[in-house]
């Protein structure tokens, strides 16, 4: 696929894409998944550590991609490890994006079906969501970036307003003692929290689309830091209100935090719908960008136009989304996707970077 000049994005846009990719299902489930592992009120420290690890992994990916700033991961991987291994790895990455995409829409459908539209069939919710997503990505990366730019400020404002209103039921004692049982429990949770930050992998594909690929590192830093702040606020507020014993019992703890208080005197008394609006927008963002990434991968792998793949993937996405039979299966898919991501984007880029450095170094020598 030839990139038209209009298909370029600015550095802030790249950062916004990373932010919107990261914020997704995790916003509602992270307080529970992290507390389950940590078992002390220090889950928020785990979140910070997880974010730092993600930034490190992300910077490695950026360094790797910057060596081939005109190509996406799917294209340059062939240069590093050869056509066959490269093709295979590309396919794995495409599958990863597809599964993430389906996981997000299914999680979204489950929450909507349970809390908002009880009688609406899941397929009806998912399909409308997918069609709108398709409509967006047909335009390419630029419309995606611009839509994300609209979504983000709304997310930030609504989310902060709603979460800080829960201050009414916040109890600092629930967050104490800090590091009461040492650092070990905190480390246990780091894996889980790092997985909640999956998203920087989009940098592998984004750099050739950027106006100034050199600033990719900056975009990534901002792109991970803002979700990091969001996540820390979420975890602190949820644990502060529900206590660690209460958090682990709730399927969607953040939603229950908002459902646990009412504010009299304002126009609204209840704010869960606002939170859901934010969350659904974020799910939509994650869904579209992963959908686009998968379609882009297939297009570049087969060196054909991207549009047929976009349409072709639609039923595939739907089928994958409908595979999990119940909530537990769904969460298992989420864990699985996370584990795959850890190897695929935690270890692999480092390996590739080393290989490409060795190879690239030789090439440079011959040129000079």
């Amino acid at each position: 696929m030839i990139l038209s000049p209009k298909d370029k994005i600015t550095t802030p846009q790249a950062a916004v894409i990373v932010i919107n990719f990261i914020l997704g299902t995790g916003l509602l489930t992270l307080p529970r998944s992290s507390t389950e592992k940590v078992q002390t009120p220090d889950a928020w420290i785990s979140v910070i550590l997880g974010g730092v690890i993600t930034i490190t992994a992300g910077l490695i990916m950026v360094k790797l991609s910057q060596q081939f700033s005109e190509k996406t991961f799917y294209q340059y991987i062939n240069d590093i490890v050869g056509k066959w291994v490269g093709g295979l790895l590309s396919l794995v990455v495409i599958c990863y994006f597809l599964t993430t995409s389906s996981f997000q829409i299914r999680a979204m459908a489950e929450v909507i079906r349970y809390l908002l539209l009880e009688g609406t069939p899941t397929w009806a919710i998912i399909m409308i969501f997918m069609w709108v997503g398709l409509y967006l990505i047909i335009g390419g990366i630029n419309p995606i970036a611009r839509l994300f730019e609209i979504i983000l400020p709304l997310t930030v404002i609504l989310f902060l307003v709603v979460t800080f209103m829960s201050f009414k039921i916040f109890e600092i004692d629930n967050l104490r003692p800090v590091l009461g049982e040492g650092i070990v429990p905190v480390l246990k949770g780091v894996k889980t929290t790092a997985l909640a930050f999956s998203g920087p992998e989009i940098m592998l594909l984004l750099i050739p689309f950027m106006n100034s690929p050199k600033k990719a590192g900056k975009a990534l830093l901002v792109g991970v830091s803002i979700p990091l702040i969001f996540y820390v606020i979420t975890v602190v507020m949820v644990i502060g209100a529900l206590s660690i014993d209460g958090v682990v019992l709730r399927t969607w703890p953040t939603l229950d935090l908002i459902r646990s208080f009412e504010v009299a005197g304002l126009i609204f008394e209840r704010f869960e719908s606002l939170l859901l609006v934010v969350w659904i927008m974020q799910i939509f963002a994650t869904f579209t960008i992963t959908y686009f990434a998968a379609a882009l991968g297939l297009a570049q792998l087969s060196k054909k136009s991207i549009h047929p793949f976009m349409f072709g993937l639609l039923p595939v996405l739907y089928i994958i989304a409908m595979v999990p039979k119940n909530m537990n299966d769904l969460f298992k898919v989420g864990d699985f996707v996370g584990n795959v991501a850890m190897f695929l984007f935690g270890l692999l880029p480092l390996l590739l970077l080393i290989i490409s450095r060795i190879k690239g170094g030789k090439k440079h020598e011959t040129i000079t």
């Binding site: 009688g119 409308i128 047909i138 004692d173 104490r176 003692p177 529900l242 209460g246 646990s260 009412e262």
Partner: protein
């Protein structure tokens, strides 16, 4: 670029046509005029209402054990509007319906056989559990359905009633809605130390899971009137109600936790035996755990600033510091009595820590806490507790002097 335009055009049209279809309305819409809004819920030991008995006689029963009677309080739009239009004699603005059975959800659904209006729990304000029931069933069993479903909000309050819980959902005052009355009294915590901080479903669930004993507000009822009186002690292991703290004991607990927002302390002047009333402005308490090898002890420091709000000692002049000091002293004595009284009750009678001593130990000495938390209530009942009360009278209102 032109080519992609011609590609998207038919898609755009088909999409917008499809979206038109979705604009026609909500897939699963329910008209609000046709809903009956559940606002209160009471759980009691089974006792079928006369209507239920009559229905059963005619064969209106299904296979169930008659264990629990649930009473639902509704505001139906018809009832609500009829009271506003024609303020007829003693028109009730709510409807109470009872169902007996053994599953909470089945009982609700049974109601749809009795009324054309579907029940919604989105606006449920309060759940009252009868003492008899709370003593024989685990709280998490009774509240499981409430916590699981999506309609009832976790912010809905939970209370324990002394007598039958359904009686607390009755009133004789026209226009008054009993469920709102109960939820409203909880808001009065800034006026008295005898109301516990609100216990919503989510807080109850957290407490249950934490495995520590805790208190829940108790409510009495008589002749359509209610009164918040004391608290029910819920055991941390069985999650059943094991005892009651009376109003004064609850006051003591509030002083220990320091969570009170207002209220009064009445004491008697030593010389004249006349009452002196101290009104709380601020209250602060710190529980300091001390761990020495195997022994755990606590220091409780209670501090409060307030005003002299009522004084029957005619000879005294509040402009004199001397008198204020005496008043502080006697109020302190009274608070000490309240605290000592409830500590005795917690440690000796119920052997249950309901004032958050364990919580402080968890925060200050997490490692020790992990060792003792399994049989904490037992350890607590043996722990020595010292307490100190310091009250400061800041002002004495607009009357200062005395006849001299």
């Amino acid at each position: 670029m032109k080519q992609s335009h011609s590609n998207t055009h038919p898609l755009f049209i088909s999409l917008s046509v499809l979206l038109f279809l979705s604009l026609t309305g909500c897939w699963s819409s329910h008209e609000i005029e046709e809903q009956s809004l559940g606002i209160g819920l009471a759980f009691d030991k089974a006792k079928q209402s006369s209507i239920e008995k009559k229905l059963n006689e005619q064969g209106g029963a299904y296979s169930k054990r008659n264990l629990i009677t649930t009473t639902y309080q509704f505001i139906t739009p018809q009832v609500a509007s009829s009271t506003t239009k024609q303020s007829g004699p003693q028109q009730k603005s709510y409807v109470n319906v009872s169902e007996t059975g053994d599953s909470m959800h089945q009982m609700v659904r049974e109601l749809s056989l009795r009324s054309e209006q579907p029940v919604t729990a989105h606006h449920m304000k309060v759940v009252v559990i009868g003492e008899n029931l709370a003593r024989s069933y685990k709280l998490e069993q009774l509240l499981d359905q409430n916590l699981r479903e999506s309609e009832l909000r976790p912010s809905c309050l939970v209370l324990i009633s002394k007598g039958r819980a359904s009686n607390t959902l009755e009133t004789k005052k026209a226009g008054e809605i009993p469920a709102f009355r109960l939820a409203g009294i909880v808001e009065n915590a800034y006026r008295t130390t005898r109301i516990l901080p609100p216990m919503s479903h989510i807080k109850v669930e957290s407490k249950i899971k934490s495995g520590s004993s805790f208190l829940m507000q108790k409510v009495l009822s008589a002749d359509g009137q209610v009164k918040f009186a004391g608290a029910a002690v819920i055991d941390g292991k069985t999650h059943k109600m094991t005892g009651t703290l009376n109003e004064e004991e609850l006051e003591g607990v509030t002083w220990i936790t320091g969570k009170g927002k207002g209220g009064v302390v009445k004491s008697f002047d030593k010389e004249t035996g006349q009452p002196i009333v101290y009104e709380i402005e601020t209250m602060k308490s710190s529980i300091i755990p001390h761990v020495k090898r195997d022994s755990i002890s606590f220091d409780v420091n209670i501090e409060s600033v307030g005003r002299l709000s009522e004084n029957w000692v005619v000879s005294a002049g509040t402009f004199k510091n001397e008198f204020l000091k005496n008043a502080e002293k006697s109020s302190e004595e009274e608070v000490k009595r309240l605290v000592g009284n409830v500590l005795e009750k917690m440690q000796k009678e119920y052997k249950a820590d309901v004032a958050g001593f364990g919580n402080r130990l968890r925060i200050e000495h997490p490692k020790v806490w992990n060792k003792v938390k399994k049989d904490w209530d037992q350890r607590f009942s043996e722990a020595p507790i010292n307490y100190d009360v310091k009250l400061t009278i800041n002002d004495y209102g607009t009357t200062g002097g005395s006849k001299k």
